[in-house]
């Protein structure tokens, strides 16, 4: 067992871990932040996407020992001071979800993508989101939402 230190949504966390646990288990089970979802366990679906140092990753594929000193953001950390993030607002206004199970991962992947690609084209959004799966079929609306958020984000968020 070893001590692993990182921040989750801005708060410092220190856990006694083996190191081989997945980041998904750390977030969902040990820290009980359940907005991040298990979908496949192989990094194939994107439901577990979170940000590590502002980069979107599949938390099911990350080992706990590799998050030492990192800044992690999950869906719970996206809104600030009770106000929804522009991506969350756009997902609501475009109704870019149905069952909602892929939604956290979609939003986090979109967040990581928009941080790297402000105000992107639809074509670029599709490439950036391609590896996230939605079985309910909300893809077109998700692209619409990211397009809207891409225009809003630079106004509200420091890039």
């Amino acid at each position: 067992m070893k001590q692993i230190n990182f921040t989750l949504n801005g708060k410092p966390v220190s856990l006694e871990l083996q190191g081989q646990e997945s980041l998904l288990t750390v977030i969902r089970i040990y820290l009980e932040q359940t907005g991040t979802k298990y979908g496949c366990g192989l990094g194939e679906c994107g439901a577990c996407t979170v940000l590590i140092d502002n980069e979107a990753v599949r938390s099911c594929m990350i080992l706990a020992e590799d998050i030492e000193g990192k800044e992690i953001i999950s869906i719970e950390g996206l809104s600030s001071d009770g106000e929804l993030h522009p991506i969350q607002k756009a997902f609501i206004s475009h109704d870019a979800l149905q069952c909602g199970f892929c939604t956290s991962g979609m939003i986090m992947n979109a967040y990581g993508f928009l941080l790297q690609n402000p105000n992107p084209s639809r074509e670029k959004i599709i490439v950036g989101m391609e590896s996230n799966l939605c079985r309910c079929g909300a893809y077109n609306r998700i692209v619409d939402a990211i397009e809207t958020a891409g225009k809003e984000m630079p106004k509200k968020v420091k890039l």
């Binding site: 359940t34 366990g41 149905q98 199970f101 079985r135 079929g137 909300a138």
Partner: protein, 701 residues
Amino acid sequence: MKSAIKSEAAYSRRRFIKNLGGGVVVVFCLGEVSFSSLFAQDGQPLEELDFNAYLRVKEDGRIDCFTGKIEMGQGIITSLAQVVAEELEVSIYDVDMIMGDTELCPYDAGTWGSLTTRFIDPVLRAAAAEAREVLLDLAAEHFGMNKTSLEVIQGVVSVKNDSSKKITYAELSKGKKIVRSLTKKPELKKAKDFKLIGKPIRSLDAEAKVTGKAKYSGDIFLPGMVHATIVRPEVFGSKKVKVDASKLSDFAGVQLVEKDDLVAVVHSDPEVSQRAAKSIKIAWEAPIAKANQETIFQYLEDTIQDNKVFESEGSLQLGEETSKVYRKATYHDGYKAHASIETHVATCYFEGDKVTIWASTQSPFGTRSSVAKALQMPLEKVHVKQIFLGGGFGGKSNSQQSIEAATIAKLCGKPVQLVWSRKEEFMYDNFRTAAVVKVAGGTDNNGKLKVWDFDIYCAGTRGTELFYAIPNKRIRSFNQAGVHPFGTGAWRAPGNNTTTFARESHIDVVAHAAGMNPLDFRLNNLENKEMIATLQLAAKTFGYDKEKKPGHGYGIALGQDAGTLVAMIAEVFVDKETGEVQPIRIVCSQDMGQVVNPHGATLQTEGGITMGIGYALYEEIEFNGGEMKTTNFNRYEITRFSKTPKIECVFIDKMDAKPQGGGEPAIICVGAAIANAIFDACGARVYRMPITPERILDALS
């Protein structure tokens, strides 16, 4: 069955009234009223209906609406609130939906078959209308005036022409406990008076879902809870011979649970329970493989002997003799997974002899009875709680994971969470069945269909009633229990995706052989006026007469499901060198009667079409007998962002009609619309789904 439903309904009603707080309550229960048949629609046997509803106007003026249905993304949490708000004259945001909790909600068999809007909706409207009348009676008494001189706006009753005299629903309900059972059909609003029905309303649960706050079965954590991992065989249907759990001592704190073929380990840390489970070696006796994904079709044809004639008229021989053009073909469709992003999950705990379960199930009441039966407990000792589902599509209709979780919880004496892995999901999903459809069709010199012979293996007859006028026809359904190497079950519009693919592909085959274009050929043979109007709306919206770009093709498919008529036109691009298909756009026109929430109906249609592209082009389970080769999304391609075409949904305007199904119908036409568009684009007629690049290149060579 019917009496069982009655007794469950009566039980839940008694319990509901007993636990009731104050306010105005309207109760509707199947079997306790004589007018239930008024709500039945053509062709729906009454015993399949279970439209119970409770509605409570609380003392704070908010409305609790109780239904046994569940929310899995299909949007009824919004559309049901919408109809209640309409009849009660309140804001939709004052309605709280309480769904699928077996101790709070009225009995319901399950959320499937696109039944909710067709059957629960009219009942909730009736209950809401009755509640409105009760509140108006109270207001009339309060003001000492006749009810007809009052009006309600947003939960406030006022005297017409005297706005100073008003009283809220909250004030009227305060200190009251009025329980009404519906005994006559109340007066429902006419379409011309609708304020909410027919208006687009965005999903009411969206904010909970974009913030990660929405709770699913795996998001429940209980004090002292352990995570269970079940040791599974590699082959479906295997029987346990011998268990070697000697390595389990390497894992501190794990507990072994064993009952019959169920072997599981539990630990407070899921990572530990998963590793510990891997250390257990079980010798299994596996059933002998009889088919794989290539041989299954011949196997089904050879094995199944029993058939039932579903529809028959005239003489097939006469039809063939009078046909100028006569074509036969056999269509194949492989097994498909439901592939919800949420796997099957159950979290449960025992308190004394009673178990409480949160489960991803489309049938909370079915889960209650299955768990009670499996664990030999009385029904009232099993409580299934309300929870969101991360997708269902028919795949969460059974109760296996709940029985497993409850069994493990009972044996280990701790609260248990069981989350199926994606690999387990790909073994115990009750797949959409593989199927064979043998079709023969012919036309005379005028392009009129004279004969139709349609033999269906395994896909059933849902939606196969012919809407084309054909004098000589026969539809037979071949099926046999236990013929599949693993479980099969309902998959969004069961069977209808496969049979619509076969019928509408073959209509095109015959049309082309007769030298007619597929649109004219269909219009020439349709007898159902509503279907003609639906197809014409699709063709007009699509611009079917527009010129195509090189390599592009258009494809039409018609179908019917859950009372709704569907006409779909797809445009695709096919790369002739690689066989790759790019869906470009799809227009879907539907006659679904009254469209309660056009926005919600659009979401369902878009979703169905997007999902449908997966079964048409990519999805196929690979297996050898019960041994699954497909174990995760890396071997099971579903539709992605880049393959989603532009989608346009249009509805026939029928606001005074009864609402019909919306969750399933659109998806049934995707296979044939894509297949026909591929043929139009490149001349490849592919008779097997998924229509892969290899199959397109084979058809071209």
